[in-house]
């Protein structure tokens, strides 16, 4: 009851909120107590290996399926379909009517979200031209390449100028050039104030795009917050190479340090780099190279979700 009251107080400040979402399929728990808080205007990533529960979570949030239990609130509404006209959704498994012309397919997706068909066609022509697909506007989808068809579907997702866009594995199947274009499109929409949630199993995309991420593993949220906060869970790594092999400076090296070739590798002490540098210089280490590496999202993912989840991510093809 208390959680519900808290939820109602904070919901107005969030584009999407989920509390303790659970989804069971024939005795299999696909989503296990997922809670998310997505601020408006942010780019939010759902990160996790395939089968982690990302797609099911998105399908619950978009309203395709209902949760077995838990609360969801999308753009202030508990029934996501009530906000359908303000949401754009790109499913993981892409699909368009093969016989439809590209512009009609985009306009149809707009019409599903309440846009008049004539207005949809007009905008579709403009969007296709903007994405160098103007010559394909009146060609059937079946004649388009896979990348072109995916672009058409993505344009159909944003045709009605939604306030919230949910993209399920949007980079899957795209070549490097189209991935870059999609990243730019996501950033542009976010700059316009649109909230974007996308799922991915490729850490690099989340790291480049997201301000906030939820790391999901085996149906549970292992982390939900800012990317920097995820990284901050790990200390920076120091890589040090010295001319002197021994001396008083050795006392500045932490106990857990390891040797990798000629280098000392250890976590940056809590006091920061300055005391370390001073101790090394004063101790006559003769610093040859010293690098402080900030941990990446991958390192944070390993630390948060565990080696097994990271191994599952690693087995998948990185785009």
């Amino acid at each position: 009851m208390l959680r519900r009251a808290q939820h109602e107080r904070t919901a107005d400040r969030l584009a999407v909120e989920a509390i303790d979402l659970v989804k069971d399929f024939d005795g299999t728990r696909a989503v296990d107590g997922v809670s998310l808080a997505v601020p408006p205007g942010s780019i939010y990533g759902l990160l996790g290996p395939n089968g982690a529960g990302k797609t099911t979570t998105l399908r619950i949030l978009i309203g395709i399926i209902d949760p077995s239990s838990g609360i969801r609130r999308v753009l202030g509404r508990e029934r996501p379909l009530d906000a359908a006209q303000e949401i754009g959704y790109l499913p993981e498994e892409r699909g368009l009517y093969p016989a439809m012309h590209a512009r009609d397919a985009i306009a149809f997706m707009g019409a599903l979200r309440g846009m008049p068909i004539a207005e949809g066609r007009r905008r579709a022509d403009a969007l296709l031209a903007e994405h160098n697909l103007g010559d394909w506007a009146k060609k059937p989808i079946r004649t388009l390449s896979k990348g072109m068809a995916q672009t058409v579907q993505l344009l159909g997702t944003i045709i009605h100028k939604p306030r919230l866009i949910m993209l399920d594995e949007p980079f899957a199947g795209l070549d490097a050039i189209n991935q870059g274009r999609l990243e730019e499109l996501i950033r542009r929409e976010a700059r316009a104030g649109v909230t974007i949630i996308f799922s991915t199993h490729v850490i690099a995309h989340a790291e480049r795009l997201c301000e906030r991420v939820a790391i999901i593993a085996r149906g549970k949220v292992a982390f939900d917050g800012r990317v920097d906060d995820a990284r901050a869970k790990l200390s920076s790594i120091v890589r040090l190479r010295t001319r002197a092999s021994d001396g008083p400076w050795r006392s500045a090296i932490p106990a857990g340090a390891r040797r990798e070739g000629d280098e000392w590798v250890f976590e940056l002490p809590a006091a920061g780099p300055e005391p370390l540098l001073k101790a090394l210089i004063d101790g006559g280490a003769g610093i040859e190279t010293l690098a402080i590496e900030r941990p990446g999202l991958h390192d944070a993912f390993v630390a948060i979700a565990g080696n097994r989840a990271a191994a599952e991510m690693g087995q998948e093809k990185v785009q």
Binding site: T56, I87, Y89, L96, Y97, F108, L112, R113
Partner: protein, 399 residues
């Protein structure tokens, strides 16, 4: 509600355009030509066979006077019987060698002479083969008897006072009108509603179902698809009727005026026929859409189509119990059971006056269309849209 209707309209418009503007729709429109073509071919064969088995031709070797009396007797009998059912008579003047003439005539193929009648009316003698056709032989005896005594054969004058219809004949012919209405409804529905079984296969196979399900209620998807197919079917019917096959046939035989007016009158009956066709289509179509939505492949749809067709025939059989006795227990049950209700009620409209039963029936049928669609869309959401393993009731583990 407006958003629901708008969503259904978006789906219906897409499906209607995709169906009617496709090349396959031309074949759909040409569909009725095939049975007509087959009818023509088999009709021609039938006519040829019939001409070979029609009434025998008898060569009459006699004086012109005797033949005219026989011919007059035949014309008189033709007023009571179908003239095509009477033996045909052809006159041949007698030749000196009767035996040779008989032999030559019996060998003639055009016309195919079965027997030769000689000896005039005073001493008639038949030579030929009438084995197994005692009726033809009986006819000849009657004709000879009437030709000999034409004054006795004159029909007694029977004054007739014509009334529009007697109760016995009216009930019978109105039942016929009801039966024809039922048959039309049944055949049009069985021909047109089967398409709905495979209506969701395209969306499921090309994955666009996720996009649609995320944007509009599944109920709206079902309603849109159902009405799109109804509209496409109506286009087909309008084209077929306009093409004239049915119209010409009806006009040729005097049109609907040859049938007695139904109990609710022709305008009302035709209006009800249109409404009940739509309701029959919507009811069976909603059921087919629900069943077909569970199928993942065309093969599954094809497997389902045979039991579904048999179910339709059963429903038609149940509805036909109304004919002749709409107020019987079976008749009322057929009118109440939603899937047979439209066909039962069109038969009732032919036989019983009164509009209230139809108003109630239409509301009842509309309620069931909504219920089946709602239940079907819930089932679709539960069994098809979920991302986990599919639940099949026949594979469900016992609790």
């Amino acid at each position: 509600m407006m958003r629901f209707l708008r969503s259904a309209f978006v789906i219906a418009r897409r499906d209607f355009s995709a169906t009617v503007l496709s090349k396959a729709f031309i074949f759909f429109l040409l569909g009725p030509l095939f049975p007509l073509l087959l009818g023509g071919v088999f009709g021609g064969i039938g006519a040829r066979v019939a001409s070979q088995t029609e009434q025998p031709v008898v060569a009459v070797v006699s004086s012109q006077q005797d033949f005219e009396r026989l011919s007059a007797a035949r014309d008189q009998l033709g007023q009571a019987l179908d003239p095509d059912a009477l033996v045909k008579l052809i006159h041949y003047p007698p030749e000196p060698d009767l035996a040779a003439q008989q032999q030559r005539l019996l060998g003639t193929r055009q016309p195919p002479i079965r027997a030769v009648l000689s000896g005039g009316l005073d001493h008639p003698r038949l030579t030929g083969s009438f084995d197994g056709d005692p009726a033809a032989l009986g006819q000849l005896r009657l004709l000879i008897a009437n030709a000999r005594a034409p004054e006795q054969a004159n029909a007694t004058i029977l004054p007739v006072t014509t009334v529009r219809a007697s109760s016995g004949s009216l009930a019978k012919v109105r039942a016929l009108t009801g039966q024809i209405g039922q048959m039309l409804l049944f055949f049009l529905t069985i021909l047109l509603s089967g398409m709905l079984l495979s209506q969701l296969i395209e969306e499921k196979s090309n994955k666009i179902i996720e996009v649609i399900a995320a944007a509009v209620p599944i109920d709206a998807l079902f309603v849109g698809k159902l009405f799109a197919m109804l509209a496409a079917s109506v286009v087909g019917i309008v084209v077929w009727v306009s093409a004239g096959a049915l119209l010409i046939q009806m006009v040729k035989h005097g049109g609907v005026t040859t049938l007695p007016p139904p109990a609710v009158g022709w305008p009302g009956f035709l209006a009800l026929a249109v409404i009940y066709f739509a309701m029959n289509y919507l009811l069976l179509g909603a059921a087919f859409l629900t069943i077909g939505a569970q199928a993942s492949t065309v093969r599954e749809v094809q497997t389902m189509s045979m039991p579904v067709t048999f179910a339709q025939v059963l429903i038609f059989g149940f509805a036909s119990t109304v004919i002749g006795n709409p107020d019987s227990t079976e008749g009322l049950a057929a009118a109440v059971f939603p899937l047979s209700s439209p066909m039962a009620m069109i038969a009732r409209a032919a036989e019983q006056p009164g509009w209230w039963p139809h108003v109630l029936a239409i509301l009842w049928q509309a309620l069931w269309v909504a219920l089946i669609l709602h239940w079907g869309s819930k089932l679709f959401r539960k069994t098809v849209l979920k991302s986990g393993p599919r639940t099949r009731w026949w594979k469900r583990k016992p609790a």
